[in-house]
């Protein structure tokens, strides 16, 4: 049974001019446990919207999302929040570290709403991403690459079954991007988490054995420029 199973998923938004703009119309998508899949697509094709739907941040207009045996689309918002807190990791393009929190505290935040704070695990994750000596550093005291490593450690902090990565190397130079990508893939594999990464960067996509074009999955032809 797949870890993630999507069927007949649809999501539309109201455009500023009042028209309805469909962003996702996906008949089927599956992801196996511990697998690593790159989803390729240009900007505006709804990659982020798709990840938000999987994460339960957005509710689809119709269709099913089944994750780890649970039908997410049948859950109310607090239960979807719980699934996210317990079983999902999220890596953002802009890292989204909280500036008032140290590296260690940012990682602890990744556990705060799920399994609860485990300082030892947080330390070991930061150690694993090479920041064992930067625990007390604030994001402003870290380089861009180091900030992304903290974000990777945070995404794994709740021992997720699935890590969603949204253009995780978009803000990094190519050397740092390669390094970050390897780190993400390695740590996900080490922690037994599946990885679903979305990117439009060919260099990133080239490193994945399993690359799926969003355009092949999504029946929405035109770029959804007004979608969030």
């Amino acid at each position: 049974m797949p870890l993630l199973e999507v069927s007949q998923l649809k999501k539309s938004f109201q455009a500023p001019d009042g028209t309805t703009c469909t962003v996702i119309d996906m008949p089927r998508f599956t992801l196996e446990e511990r697998s690593q899949v790159a989803l390729q697509g240009e900007s505006g094709l709804g990659k982020t919207t798709f990840l938000h739907l999987i994460a339960g941040i957005l509710k689809p207009d119709s269709g099913r999302i089944s994750f780890a045996g649970q039908e997410l689309t049948a859950l109310d918002e607090p239960r979807r929040d719980r699934v996210r807190a317990m079983s999902l990791g999220y890596i953002f393009q802009t890292f989204n570290l909280l500036p008032a929190f140290t590296a260690l505290e940012n990682v602890l935040l990744g556990m705060a709403f799920g399994p609860g704070a485990d300082r030892q695990l947080a330390r070991s994750l930061l150690d694993r991403v090479g920041l064992g000596v930067r625990l007390a550093h604030y994001p402003r005291q870290l380089s861009t690459g180091q900030q992304q490593r903290v974000a990777v450690a945070r995404a794994l902090a709740n021992r997720p079954k699935l890590v969603l990565a949204d253009e995780p190397t978009g803000n990094l130079d190519s050397a740092s991007a390669r390094e970050a990508l390897k780190l993400i893939r390695d740590t996900c594999a080490e922690n037994g988490a599946a990885l679903l990464l979305v990117s439009h960067d060919r260099e990133v996509l080239a490193q994945f054995e399993n690359v799926v074009a969003l355009a092949d999955l999504n029946r929405v032809a035109a770029p959804a420029a007004s979608a969030p």
């Binding site: 982020t48 929040d81 807190a85 909280l98 709403f113 709740n158």
Partner: protein, 404 residues
């Protein structure tokens, strides 16, 4: 990482607005508590100051003027009464004892009161009499000797052996010092133990000494300013009130002393109410400042809220952090408010003591010390609900998008 830590981080992140807002809460809490405590303590204390007497007999005037003059040593004496009036009330079967007082002089603004040694035999509070500190003694009624209230002694630097010349009149003007100085010289023979009553601000000398002071009219030498009266039974006061106030237009019998003061406090109750209203408005404004400070930072916080939600925080959790933050600011504020309260009450107590001799206790218990902080914390929590609702409604997807 707990909600408390998230709130603490946010408070630190917005340290300046936290400090300013907590400061306004502190002022509100301090003001609110001080206004209520001063009001309550003043009412309690001023209505209990009787000097151990039930009534005052004096020349026809208002009861309030008599009490303020004879018990609180504040007002001018309405007029003098004849010694026969004193003798008559002293011998009245309903009177346990009566003590005459005469006034009209001061020393550097502190009132000089002539009386008999009986004044020092009266218990002004259960088991407490006006007693000289060692080394010191009461004055000899036949000599030019004085005993000084503790506050007056401290302010004037008087101690046993000190000598002074009384000034004529109840008010002291430095520029007219020489022309109003009496020739008579008095020696301080004792300083009284602090009584926390108006007696602490008085210089006591023998009655006859004041009556026959050089420069005073000889024909008035036997007159006195008032008589302090202790009744055998308080219930008899009503009959004496009838006797003196309704059947005679020469004299006024102010009874009971406590009620006269309570009537005064009732009359000036509007002032208390205005102060209370101002304090309440300050409290509302302070709670409003909590709302404004958090609400104004909501745009900046939305990305953080969206992130917390993306990490699995529920809507009600992020809303709760905002309310907790408002409560935390209020708690810091009310903690500082106790410092403000102590400062205001200490200053007010100092002024009241200097003006009346009555002592207010800054550290004494009053329910306002509980309910005012609770009201402020409650108001702040309610104020925090407005930004909390904004936090609750924050849409994650909208605010997680990279800033362009």
């Amino acid at each position: 990482m707990t909600l408390g830590q998230i709130v603490f981080k946010s408070l630190r992140q917005h340290a300046l607005s936290t400090a300013v807002t907590a400061g306004s809460i502190a002022l509100a809490a301090g003001l609110l508590m001080a206004v209520w405590a001063v009001k309550a303590q003043s009412q309690q204390t001023f209505t209990q100051v009787t000097g151990g007497f039930d009534a005052v007999l004096g020349a026809r005037s208002s009861k309030l003027q008599l009490v303020l003059n004879a018990v609180f040593h504040l007002e001018a004496s309405p007029a003098n009464i004849a010694s026969e009036d004193f003798e008559a009330i002293r011998k009245h079967p309903a009177v346990a004892f009566a003590v005459p007082i005469a006034m009209g002089d001061n020393f550097r603004g502190y009132r000089i009161v002539g009386t008999t040694p009986d004044m020092f035999a009266v218990e002004y509070a259960p088991g407490r009499r006006l007693t000289p500190l060692k080394p010191g003694r009461l004055f000899d009624p036949t000599l030019r000797e004085a005993v000084v209230g503790s506050f007056a002694a401290r302010k004037l630097g008087l101690k046993p052996g000190s000598k002074f010349h009384p000034y004529h009149g109840l008010n002291f003007r430095e520029e007219e010092e020489e022309e109003h100085e009496h020739e008579d010289e008095y020696v301080v023979v004792g300083v009284l133990e602090p009584s926390n009553t108006p007696a602490d601000r008085v210089i006591w000398i023998p009655l006859e000494g004041l009556q026959t002071m050089s420069g005073h009219a000889a024909e008035k030498a036997s007159e006195i300013s008032a008589v302090l009266v202790k009744l055998r039974s308080p219930a008899i006061g009503a009959a004496m009130d009838q006797q003196y106030n309704k059947q005679d237009d020469r004299l006024t019998f102010a009874w009971p002393i406590g009620k006269t003061m309570a009537d005064l406090l009732d009359k000036i109750g509007w002032f208390d109410r205005i102060l209370a209203l101002v304090a309440a408005l300050v409290a509302v404004v302070a709670a409003g400042s909590v709302l404004a400070s958090i609400y104004n930072s909501m745009n900046e916080r939305r990305r953080q809220i969206a992130l917390l939600r993306a990490l699995g925080a529920r809507r009600r959790t992020v809303a709760a952090t905002v309310v907790f933050e408002a409560v935390a600011i209020a708690l810091i504020g009310v903690a500082l408010g106790f410092v403000v309260y102590l400062a205001i009450l200490t200053a007010a107590a100092r002024v009241i003591r200097a003006q009346t001799g009555v002592v207010l206790e800054a550290l004494s218990w009053h329910p306002v010390l509980i309910w005012a902080p609770l009201v402020l914390v409650g108001l702040s929590a309610v104020a925090g609900l407005v930004p909390a609702i904004k936090a609750y409604r924050t849409e994650v997807a909208e605010h997680l998008a990279p800033a362009h």
